[in-house]
């Protein structure tokens, strides 16, 4: 990967992370690209995404959630710029068409879990920026749905009436692997 581009990508990371892991990240990136394990374009996407996650972690950890959202937007914008520059480098230096990358970015597979009972609360936390769609309902019809802007936690309150016992909670996002559900049993809701 182009040295200047790699340096620009590493500059997106928080300084502490960059100082500690920057050299290793750069080396691993070069190794993976040299070995044909990853394309330069995917490396750019991965590094930009990692930078957004690191900033989110740093800022959320200091309880400055509002600022974290703004910073994430700035990093995303910077990442888009770097991505555009990387695209120019890629097209200029490689014969392979970029459609392969488009396929990789469109990964989407819903995660489904069984529910032990109604009247439970489930904490969902996605660490990947984007919209996470959450649907609570029966196998035949959704009863309620909500969307959150990740990264961020959300509590799903399951319907409590016997006739509305949900058979599933379905959660989908661009990266379902990033959604974490605690194992059942989930604690009942305490009604005040």
């Amino acid at each position: 990967m182009n040295r200047h581009l790699l340096r620009a990508l590493l500059a997106l990371y928080p300084r502490a992370f960059r100082d500690r892991y920057g050299t290793e990240v750069a080396r691993l990136t070069d190794e993976l690209i040299s070995a044909g394990e990853i394309t330069p374009l995917l490396a750019v996407l991965n590094l930009a995404g990692g930078a957004a996650l690191e900033w989110g972690r740093v800022l959320t950890g200091s309880r400055r959630a509002a600022f974290a959202v703004s910073a994430a937007a700035v990093v995303a914008a910077a990442g888009s710029f770097v991505f555009a520059v990387a695209g120019i480098f890629y097209v200029a230096g490689h014969a392979r068409p970029p459609s392969r990358v488009a396929t990789a970015r469109s990964v989407s597979a819903p995660a489904a879990i069984a529910l032990p009972a109604a009247g439970c609360a489930v904490n969902v936390n996605s660490t990947v920026p984007g919209t996470v769609q959450i649907t609570v309902g029966t196998n035949s019809a959704a009863q309620s749905a909500q969307a959150i802007e990740a990264p961020g936690p959300v509590v799903i309150v399951l319907p409590g009436t016997p006739s509305a016992v949900p058979e599933r909670v379905q959660i989908s996002s661009a990266d379902p692997c990033a959604i974490k559900l605690p194992p059942p049993p989930w604690p009942p809701i305490v009604k005040g």
Binding site: V25, L28, N46, A48, T127
Partner: protein
């Protein structure tokens, strides 16, 4: 960074801890090993974000650099954490498979 924070993160942490459970590895060896046993190819940003989290939680530690890169080793706390998580996953898998069998019969 606490163990709870690691627990709340993605399963990439478990993949890394599993990879380090036998012996220390550096970044490239981790990527190849995880791809081999889990079919998941971690990118450089993803891998080091997870490693940073695990290191801050005291679940892995960096060994002295070899050829300008650090091998990483799982700690005793990391082994215990991994054991708990895998046991928990096995229990959930058992319940899930039993229910699938009942539903299929």
């Amino acid at each position: 960074m606490t163990k709870d924070a690691v627990r709340g993160s993605s399963d990439r942490s478990i993949l890394i801890l599993t990879s380090l459970a036998d012996w220390p590895k550096h970044g490239y060896a981790l990527v190849k090993d995880i791809e081999g046993f889990a079919g998941v190819k971690l990118g450089p940003g993803t891998l080091y974000s997870a490693l940073a989290k695990l290191e801050q939680a005291g679940l892995v530690e960096a060994l002295p650099a070899e050829d300008r890169r650090h091998p990483y080793r799982i700690t005793a706390a990391g082994l215990e954490f991994l054991r708990e998580r895998l046991t928990e996953s096995a229990r959930i898998a058992e319940v899930g498979l039993r229910r699938i069998a009942v539903a299929s019969s």
